[in-house]
Symmetry: none
Subunit: 222 residues, 4 copies
DNA sequence: CATGAATGAGTTTTCATTCAT
DNA sequence: TATGAATGAAAACTCATTCAT
């Protein structure tokens, strides 16, 4: 039931190849991704990027025009293509897998998202850093993903709610609660540690709690 | 039962006054706090600070030596004095109030921390930004607060656990879950929005979920 | 018998051209040499250098990284290449010329070194100034030149000593005495005056004295 | 025959006390002397001086107006009072001591000046450094001491010359030769080393050479 | 397309000097 | 006289960006 999902870096690299970017320009993007994740955007000089990419300083600007353009060239495909694609894959996986009950569903979803985050720590870190500085990124992402997820999730949740396995709350509230709990585990790890978490263990730890919290109460279930 | 807590900015300002810093140096600190919160550390020039503080650029360096020293002068008192004091006050409040049951306790605690965060949005933002860039801050904070909180919380939780009102999990796990959920609500608001949240409403929203999730299950309650 | 020796500035300029430094970078080095000699290292700002070199301030730092690096870029080739080369040329000239006696030898050597110093007043001045401030330069130079000179000089002196034309002292003592006397004439002129000395005149003045002082005495000559 | 001469630092300290300078101002001068000698004038900040003197930064300027004024306050008494006084003492000592012959005279004089330089290494170093940068100091000193020494020395030398013990050269030429040789020994030691020289040993080494060099030749002695 | 030297505006930092207390 | 906080001009240095080759 658990399937390997596509790594965003692979998606990113594929996206790069799909463009008309030259080899050198591609390595500029890769170097930027690495350095932005390691030291943050402001602490990375275009000279650093040129050096790691093995190109001249001029080349860094040839195609991306500005340093900000370079950041956008990294963030935009994530927002426009990669995250939506990933969200779509996730939803499709959820929809295609005939989960017997909400617990099976939740365990799958939580595990999948956690292992996904673990597989993409570097990119996550850049995103977190940039969102914290420049909240419009988060806004754009929310707009972009909001509709997509909501419609898909709404239908899934409605099913479990009708079958009395899930509390009858607004699906955005449920998502916020679930993701809040996951974020509480993920962020400290992504920011502070180099060691990935044990996905199985914390999936259990989280789900045990979530299943209680999201179980229909006597009143609401009636 | 709900009491007004001391605002960290007030504590900070008082801490500043307690030092032997001159009026101008104090205004340098205040200006830095403001600008670092608004635009981030790297995007704030010492010229900006001098201008807002109404002092010359030399003055900024006279006492704090470097720009990094200025950041430390802001962060250190938070880590060493303000946060521990705040945590102490919170624990004292929890210990002194004779809560009838875990629900009353949880509602108080959640509401208190959420309204606390709302009252200190600016400082929270700086901390979040800096922690994301420089994780050692989070490490130091964890070290500093860890022991303090754990011993105090352990005792409180043990009581509710014996009375069968709280699931029998390790208290750090409970704290992580509760704070995860809260953070899921707080961070997007602190980072993205200028409008504070409605504390009452989201306290209810959160607690309704938490109380279910943390209720002892049939097996564990037996 | 008296031959024109290569000017260090020419050697330096040639050394510069041999490197992969651009035209502008070369003019930065030349400007630094000029200004350091004129006003001293500390009293020369990087802005002064940029202006005289006809480049932007950024250019000064682009290659030499720091102002100190610029000083080193001037001093190092002198210590590592130019001075050894000059010392080598000097020794070769002494060895190849068949001097009839010690007097002819001494007159040649003294005249050569004095006119050499006169031809390189600017560079001498920088070296003197920097050595006075930072004695390690002198140490490095001594290490670098010591062995080279000693072996060559030893052989020359031994010959004149055997022929009873030169007092039987350690050759380093003789060099120190000879150079002391020369330095006594040169330094005040190099430091204080813009007018070069009359090499012939003071060569005579010095040698008349040295020949007496270094003549074997009755006892030692026996 | 060998007498202890007055240390310039003592003279300097006495000169300081003679002025109407306050205790604090005196310590400012002492601190400047120390730091200028250690690190050079340009590399010493007025803050450094204030710190070492144990006074406020304002105090450094209260009396001496500028940093340059502070340097002058150190150098001027040397040029105007201390060096002339020292030269006077030296000449008096030479005049009062009834030296049997030039050799005794020379040995005394050389030993005296060398041990004098050794006793005042710190001050010598400042003087050397400043003269190298700012030659007017040397000019002033030469003017000031020139006449004083010349008349005194002339008379002494004339005596030995008539007695056929000293070559019949201009006394300034003799002084330059003698001081050149001494300087050749002293400067490298003062600049580079912390260990004072063995005065006796090098006095012998130098005088053995000088006595030969300055001995009247057959022709000139006739 | 790629290069890398050059740019110049901007940043942090230093420091001699002033002045109200 | 002494203080030390404050100053502001100038210093060293950084860095995104341009452009001739």
């Amino acid at each position: 039931m658990i399937m390997k999902h596509t790594n965003v870096e692979t998606l990113f690299a594929n996206g790069i190849k799909a463009t008309d970017l030259s080899k050198k320009q591609q390595s500029v993007l890769q170097a930027s991704l690495t350095l932005f994740a390691q030291q943050g955007y402001e602490n990375t000089s275009t000279q650093d990027i040129a050096q790691l990419a093995g190109v001249s300083e001029g080349t860094v600007f040839k195609h991306f025009k500005t340093k900000e353009g370079l950041l956008q060239a990294i963030l935009t495909p994530f927002i426009h293509d990669i995250f939506p694609q990933v969200a779509g894959e996730f939803l499709t996986a959820l929809a295609e897998n005939p989960f017997d009950d909400f617990e099976t569903f939740l365990r799958y979803a939580v595990h999948d998202r956690i292992s996904y985050a673990m597989d993409n720590r570097r990119e996550m870190k850049i995103f977190i850093q940039e969102m914290v500085k420049n909240p419009t990124i988060l806004t754009k992402l929310t707009e972009r993903l909001g509709g997509l997820l909501q419609s898909g999730i709404n239908r899934l949740f409605a099913d479990y709610q009708q079958r009395g396995q899930l509390v009858d709350w607004d699906s955005m509230r449920i998502i916020r609660l679930v993701s809040g709990v996951m974020v509480g585990y993920l962020i400290p790890n992504i920011i502070m540690s180099d060691q990935p978490l044990d996905c199985e263990a914390i999936t259990n730890e989280i789900c045990e709690f979530l299943l209680n919290g999201l179980r229909p109460t006597a009143e609401t279930a009636s």
